[in-house]
Subunit: 569 residues, 2 copies
């Protein structure tokens, strides 16, 4: 292990970053070691082109990874921007061979110093940042994120969530002193013991990634498990493998370079026809499961997995309550932008906007429900009608399934006589004429149609619901959060008493709440180190990015003790 | 809530204790705010008699607790010392009423400041220490612990485990800043947000207590849940209710005195004929389950409970490896004492001693397997033959079931032609002529009889197994730990290379190891703040007393954020 002995250097190299990250999670201020803009002013003129070329070089090629137990090759990725197959194939591995190799990799890794493990994860993060233009194109062409979003959201913002998890892992491990001396009188005898506390990793960590935003949850899960001594098997979604293949490639190269077994990180590719996750889930050596994906499968895992750690982030139905506003256009623009961002394929995208049916107060006087709804529609139109703006914000729709969701919502609205305030339409992507695009459908509803709008609809579908009152709106929103789950809720109110009353209820149902936010920041932007993501208190998932509970059980403590003797001390 | 406003005083009152406890868990030095000897030099001349009288006043009376939903009274405790019924009855409550009351109690408690909740738990601990003579007699007469052990092990030592959990709860909660300011440029706009992070308790905590050592695991579970804002339902073992009734009584009185709803802590008594635990386990409002008890039920919970936090401590098969010793008599005395302590009814009691069949090296030269075994027997005899010593160490056997275990072991040994080196016998308790007592049976075996000695036998049964070699002994011991679970393992060796090699294996199988310990301290004494208890890496349980993972998931974090405005800031 570690024949080149670079461990001291690598720990020293990343110490400042780690210190800052720990400081950031404690203060929850804004911080990042990275820049999340793709500007050449930051990255120089070469990198964008080199990154694009690196992405293109993967196309129509096998993705070479020297994994254990390769028994075939497959790949079925289709770009949402070109609607062409990427033609990349990935090794299909025998789960038994993967697990055996992962287990065997664990011995040396478990013995490595915690700060060395953390530092190697930081090194991986740094190298992924260096590959981030390649990553941006890779994410675009499997997930449909716009170039700028793929660059930031799937790059630095995701790496930051990973480093945040590393900070908590470092805090949790540092909380266990490696040794102690124990002196106590028992009767008239002084007993003097030396005690040693060993951090023992729990076992193989399985990281099941989602298709639309794979790196964002994968980095924290991978780094949390790796830092605490566990090997990681990455199970990418079969339609979004490339981003995770890049990550696994960099992890393996980095670990090998520093003298560790590359099989600490493996890629368990499967196909839509032959899913493989369950074989890992059931294996007793897999002790940690991190899952991001559909509520259906997450729910299945939550109700079946025992004797293992399970961390889930699925999805819920996010709501906005508009009780009163200062500036109507600014507030509705904020909602419209959040609805348009990545065509509402985000776990933080709003789906339901509650507005009192009698209308709301604004600084410019009373406005009707219809005016509020129409302002949201207008603000969506501003984006939808400008192809360049739409391309940067909406990107593409990952799969036909999300277009079907939109169609189904439209059909149901028609069926139930609901007014469709805005029809979903493709927009013309300026760079990719074949891009699968769709601007949001906006449907006007009342509480009677609860069944319709309280189902999660993964795609650009927005309901504006006429509530009986502001209090009814918040009541419905929090009940929706409690029963259907939510990851982000939003509220607009100029009434401080109203806000004061409802924030407690939102907290109790585990709804993270953004109040009165307008302006340049996306209201559904969640910043690592500062914003906790998922509370674990409602059906949208059981794990939080990131807190101590996300890391503290990934390792255990074994102790030994013996009398202090002159020979042994 | 809290009309008397004594919160600041109570926080200040316990601040130093909390600070010391946090310091102790970080350094894992020897520390306690309590004295664990019942000496009148410490407690004054009055307390022992008053405590005994307080215990006796409970006998043949209903134990008055103003619990919600009382629908009857029952009690079936029998003293292992007198073999007479205690005649105490306890309220039987409707689980639905208990859960409704607990849930309702949670609102104010969740809003109370974390340090106030921690301080009230410390206040409860202090009051329980004040009642400790009463507790000692109560534990004696339900569990069978000797007076001194009941006083220390079920009193200060158990309270220390509770305060240890409080220290971790304080650390974990303190890790979440209550608020932050966030400043970041988005494009050319500076965004300034204020963020609030609210600790939200998870839900009702169910604490299922064991019969032989109820308080030791109950305090940490109760305090960990209470401190993090959760109400607690205590489900005592139906043959050992009184100690937990005392605890619940003190909790309720203390909470009420400080303005909180006493239903934050309730007692869910049941009977052997009509067990009630499952009704609580299945209830969706019960979100945390702490279980101490049989491996059978623990295993059942571990394989069935989903969507809830589950912390288990069950039992395993603890082993001793005797590879070589300095002083034979001293080492074997340590093993003999651990075997005799509470008639081996402890989760840390050794059950199997592995000794190389060719004998071992000692400072006085080579001794045979038979000599090693005989020395253990002689050292047990020293205790068994002195009724006063035996009474202080062995106490009584809690139930007929443990006598049956001893009988069964003897019968199996006879059947398989194994040599019984020492027969189990009652000893005459000097104070209680009717006490149910039994000194340990000692059986000589070889690896062939693995099936016999590798089953957990809860009672005074010790196997001395002839191993092929010292390495084989440790190999068998660690394999036993991995497959059957263990809470404490013991090793005697003068060979540092041997120790160095095997400590890693013990750690990997999650066996806490005590090496070469002799003298006044019981080798199976586990000190709160210093010794981690249960690793969670083998079948003996999944929870550790106490580490961050024991507390970090008992609360969740809900956040809200909003722009900083002059009005709101």
């Amino acid at each position: 292990m570690n024949e080149q002995q670079p461990s001291i250097d690598i720990v020293a190299k990343h110490q400042t970053t780690l210190d800052h990250a720990i400081q950031a999670v404690k203060t929850r201020k804004s911080w990042s070691p990275f820049k999340d803009s793709p500007s050449t002013k930051i990255h120089g003129p070469e990198k964008p082109g080199l990154g694009k070329a690196a992405f293109e070089a993967h196309l129509h090629q096998p993705f070479s990874l020297d994994l254990p137990g390769i028994k075939g090759w497959a790949g079925e990725e289709v770009s949402p921007f070109t609607q062409q197959k990427l033609g990349i194939t990935y090794p299909l591995c025998d789960p038994h061979a993967t697990i055996t190799a992962a287990k065997s990799s664990m011995t040396d890794w478990a013995k490595a110093a915690p700060n060395l493990r953390v530092s190697l994860c930081l090194e991986i993060a740094e190298r992924m940042y260096d590959r981030n233009f390649e990553m941006a194109h890779s994410v675009m062409h499997v997930a449909g994120q716009s170039y700028t979003q793929a660059f930031s959201g799937s790059g630095p913002n995701a790496l930051d969530r990973g480093i945040e998890a590393l900070a908590y892992a470092a805090i949790a491990m540092d909380n266990v002193t490696p040794s102690a001396q124990y002196h106590r009188m028992f009767g008239r005898e002084e007993v003097n013991l030396e005690k040693t506390y060993t951090l023992v990793p729990r076992g193989i960590g399985l990281v099941i990634c989602c298709a639309s935003f794979p790196t964002w949850n994968a980095y924290p899960a991978m780094f949390a498990s790796l830092a605490t001594g566990n090997p990681v098997v990455v199970k990418p979604h079969p339609i979004a493998i490339l981003p995770m293949a890049l990550v696994v490639e960099t992890c393996r190269a980095t670990l090998a370079e520093f003298g560790f077994d590359p099989n600490l990180v493996t890629l368990a590719t499967d196909t839509l026809a032959e899913p493989i996750a369950q074989q890992y889930i059931d294996h007793p050596d897999v002790q940690i499961i991190d899952f991001t994906g559909s509520p259906r499968f997450g729910n299945y895992l939550e109700s079946t997995v025992t004797r293992k750690l399970l961390y889930t982030e699925t999805a819920g139905v996010n709501s906005v309550v508009v009780e009163s506003v200062d500036n109507l256009a600014e507030s509705m623009r904020a909602i419209a932008r959040a609805t348009c961002l990545f065509s509402a394929q985000m776990c933080t995208s709003p789906q339901v906007v509650y507005v009192p049916k009698e209308g709301i107060k604004t600084a410019q006087g009373h406005v009707s429900f219809e005016q509020v709804a129409q302002t949201i529609v207008s603000e969506i139109d501003v984006i939808a009608q400008d192809p360049k703006l739409a391309a940067g914000i909406m990107g593409a729709v990952q799969g036909q399934v999300s277009l079907d969701v939109v169609e189904a919502a439209a059909a149901m609205a028609d069926e139930q006589g609901l007014s469709i305030l805005r029809h979903a339409k493709p927009y013309n992507h300026p760079d990719f004429p074949n891009a699968r695009t769709r601007t949001p459908i906006v449907i006007s509803a009342t509480s009677e149609h609860k069944q319709m709008y309280s189902e999660e609809r993964f795609g650009p579908v927005l309901f504006i619901v006429a509530a009986n009152s502001g209090n009814d709106a918040a009541q419905e929103a929090t009940e929706l959060a409690r029963t259907r789950g939510t990851i982000s809720c939003y509220m607009y109110s100029t009434d401080e008493d109203y806000i004061d009353h409802w924030v407690d209820v939102y907290a109790q149902v585990g709804a993270n709440l953004t109040i009165n936010l307008t302006g340049a920041m996306w209201i559904n932007f969640a910043a690592a180190y500062s914003d906790f993501h998922v509370t674990g208190l409602n059906p949208a998932g059981n794990a939080c990015l990131a807190d101590l509970s996300f890391v503290a059980s990934r390792f255990r403590i074994a102790q030994r003790r013996r009398p202090i003797t002159e020979g042994a001390a």
